[in-house]
Each structure stands twice: as C-alpha cells, then as structure tokens.
Symmetry: D2
Subunit: 135 residues, 4 copies
C-alpha cells in the first residue's frame, strides 16, 4: 500500500468517491509535477534549447497545476465538488497539452518520452476520477 493510500484510509473524513481512484489520481498528480519540473530542466540543458521553448513552457504550467490538484485531492474534509471538478478539468487539460508537446520530441529526447507517459497517465487518472464523481 502506498503512503497516499494509507493517508486516505486513516483520514477520519471519508473519500467522496472510491478511494482507489482518488489514490491513483493523487499519486499521478505528484508524479507528474515532478516529471514536468525535471523535463523542463532537461530541455533547458539540451543544445537545441531554442527548439524546446514551447515544451518548457507547457512543462512549467503542467507542474504548477498538477501540484495544486494533488494538494486539493489530498484533502477529504468538507470537499467542494465544484472546486474539485474544476481543478481536475484544468489538470486534465494541462496534462493533455504537455503530453502532446512532449510527444513531438519523444523520438529525440528520452526525457520527453518519459514525461509524455507520465502526463498521459495523469490525464487518464483525472478523467477517471471525474467519471467516478459523476461529473
């Protein structure tokens, strides 16, 4: 069991929908925040950094939004369905955007390929949770 799962199970407030979808989305958000921060830096270190400017920008946005989403989802006390849904939609959008941009460089830069995979998984986890919430 991961730490995120243990924190969900030991919280006195129940998760609003199934705990597994929550845990997967929380872990995906924190993982994606880390990968996007690292991918932006790896792009910065490449010789052809000027070709990777859009990728760096999308990485930075995605890192910020995933971090915010991961925090909101980590809270189970008095949740707002509206706020949860909106930050999940923003997170899915930024993961799709960043995943698509990284996909363009995945053949040339292994860090973009890894980051693309992590973004795809996070986008999917956000959409799964939105479905589980009935949104």
């Amino acid at each position: 069991m991961t730490h995120a799962q243990r924190m969900i199970e030991t919280n006195p407030s129940s998760a609003p929908v199934d705990a597994l979808a929550f845990a997967e989305c929380i872990e995906a958000c924190f993982d994606c925040a880390q990968a996007c921060t690292a991918c932006a830096d790896a792009c910065l270190g490449e010789q052809e950094v000027s070709d990777l400017v859009k990728c760096i920008r999308d990485d930075l946005d995605c890192a910020d939004i995933c971090a915010a989403a991961g925090n909101v989802l980590s809270r189970q006390t008095h949740p707002s369905q509206e706020v949860t849904r909106k930050i999940l939609e923003a997170c899915a959008a930024s993961c799709r955007q960043c995943g698509d941009t990284c996909a363009e460089h995945a053949d040339h830069h292994e860090h973009c390929r890894v980051c693309m995979e992590v973004c795809r998984r996070c986008e999917s986890a956000c959409n799964n949770l939105l479905s589980a919430m009935g949104a």
Copy 2:
C-alpha cells in the same frame, strides 16, 4: 506601475489580451494566495477552531489554486488558451467557494472579512480576464 505590470511590458512575447486585465488578475491571484494562507492560519489560532474547519479547508484549496493560476498567467510565451481558460475557471470557482465561506464568518472574524474581500476581487479579475479572452 507595479512589478507585475513591468514584467508584462518587458516580456518579449506579447500578452494575449489587454495587458491591464492580465496584470490585475496576476496581482489578484498572488494577493489571494497570501490572504488565504494567512486566513487559514488565523482560523487555526482562534479558540473556536472547530467551527472554522470548513473555512480552513476552503482557504487551503484557494491558496493552492490561486498560486498555480498566478504562475500560469505570469507566462506569456506560447500560451495555451485551453489551459489558461481552465485554470482561470478553477480559480474563479475556488475564490467564490472560499469567499462565500469566509462571508459566513466575516462579522465575527476580521481576517475572514479581509479574506472574503480579496477572494471576491480575485474571482472578479478571473472572470474579467475570461471575458477579455472571449471565453
């Protein structure tokens, strides 16, 4: 002229819509992130903290989302309209939620009254920018 305005004007990439609406929204987001963080702490310090649990939770979500929105809006290079719109919608929603909760305590706790005002201003700035973007 504020620092946020000076940073917009000196950025080689142009702001996608009118610079003033951007600057106001950026400043409102950072201001709201600070006020919500401070209000959560002030609520924690009150004797009747158990009556303020929902307010603390809404403050924490709003602080995280405003910080992410403020960062995304501070970037002008290769913006994604979709991501910008989604994080603005999430920010407006969290400011409305937090502003409404703080409004319930505004008569008893001056920090909730100040925080409510800051949330209202940020919600309004997000909605103004969404309108300016044609969203």
Copy 3:
C-alpha cells in the same frame, strides 16, 4: 526504476553527486509534501481538532518546504551548491519539526504515525544528500 530515477538518467546535465541519493531525496520530498498535506487535513477532520493545531501548522510548513526542495532537486542544469544546501537544510529542519510533532500524536492518530514515518525518511534523505555533497 522510478520516474524520478528515469528523469535523472535522461537529463543531459549530470547530477552533481551520486544519482541514487538524489533520486531518493526527490522522491522523499514529494512523498512528504503529499503526506503532510493529507495529515493536516486528517487532523482538521478529527473531533479534537483544537488539540492538533500545532500539528496542522507544522504539516503545512513542511508540505510547502518539501515541495520547494523537491523542485529544486529535480533541476540538474547549472545548480547552485549554496542554494541546494540551504533548501536541504530547511527541508531537514521542517521534517524534523513536523516528525517530532506527529510523534506526539502517533499513538492516537494513525495518520500522524504514517506522516511521522514519511517525515523521518525525508529528513534522513536530506541529510544523506547533504553528506554526499560534502556539506
């Protein structure tokens, strides 16, 4: 191999010290940021929230500092030894503080016990990396 490890290995800039100590510290920081955010919320949801005010405060500080440290460590291009060392020291201090406070509640609240463990691991990872850096 974790995503953090894969991102380190695919970064064109080399990690300044051994990659494993870096990867472990990055993962510990993001894990601790999540656990502290979740523990603060779990404390908020407890009946005796007024007894947990200090724990919530320490959780919130530790979450913020771990998130910043995790981001700084995820960057390998043109690192500043001074900045890296200082944020590691701040992170070790906040993990020690939060771990000690959670330890006081570990017998009564399982979330505090889990959070304490995660804080101890992150404090240790920060100190290991400081040693590896020769600081």
Copy 4:
C-alpha cells in the same frame, strides 16, 4: 495598509517580532515569486535563449523558494523559530543567487533588471527579518 499587513493585525496569534518587518518580508517574497516566474518566461521568449539558461534555472529555484518562504511567514500560530530561520536563509541565498545572475543581463534585458531589483529587495527583507529575530 496592504492586505498582508491587515492579515497580520487580524490574526489572533501575535507576530513573533515586529509586524512591519514581517509584512515587508511576506510581500517581498510573493512579489519575488511572481517576478522570477515572469523573468524565466521572458528569458524563454528571447531569441538568445541559450545564453539565458542559467538565468532561467535560477529564476525557477528562486520562485519556488520565495513561494514557500512567503507561506511559512504568513503563518503566526505556533511558529518554529528554527524552521522560520532556515527558510529565510534559503530564501536570502536564492534571491542573492538569482539577483546576481539577473544583474549580468540587466543591461540587455529590462525584465532581468526589474527581476534583479525585486530579488535584491527580497534578500534584504529576509536578512532584516533574520536580524529582527535575533538570528
């Protein structure tokens, strides 16, 4: 009176040292987080982005650390002197580092000149607060 000052005065817990030094440092941290995020983006948008890689990296670290410091300082309930001092030292170090790097480009890029000024002010505010705390 700024919002940060109003939040300090309405907090039921007192600020540990003089409130003005706290308010100035909080405002400087949030201002610097914004300016550094914006400067990183402005550098990304410049034609000679490859000459600005170190500046972008320092901007990103400084933005993360200033945001964490601004949050920690915004909390007045059960503060830890040790954690406060360590995050202030990290913030002063990252502002000095980023300010020095921006200074190298201040003649060519107005955004670096503005960011340098904001970093210098934040470094100074952190050091003033450390002195006020007797550290």
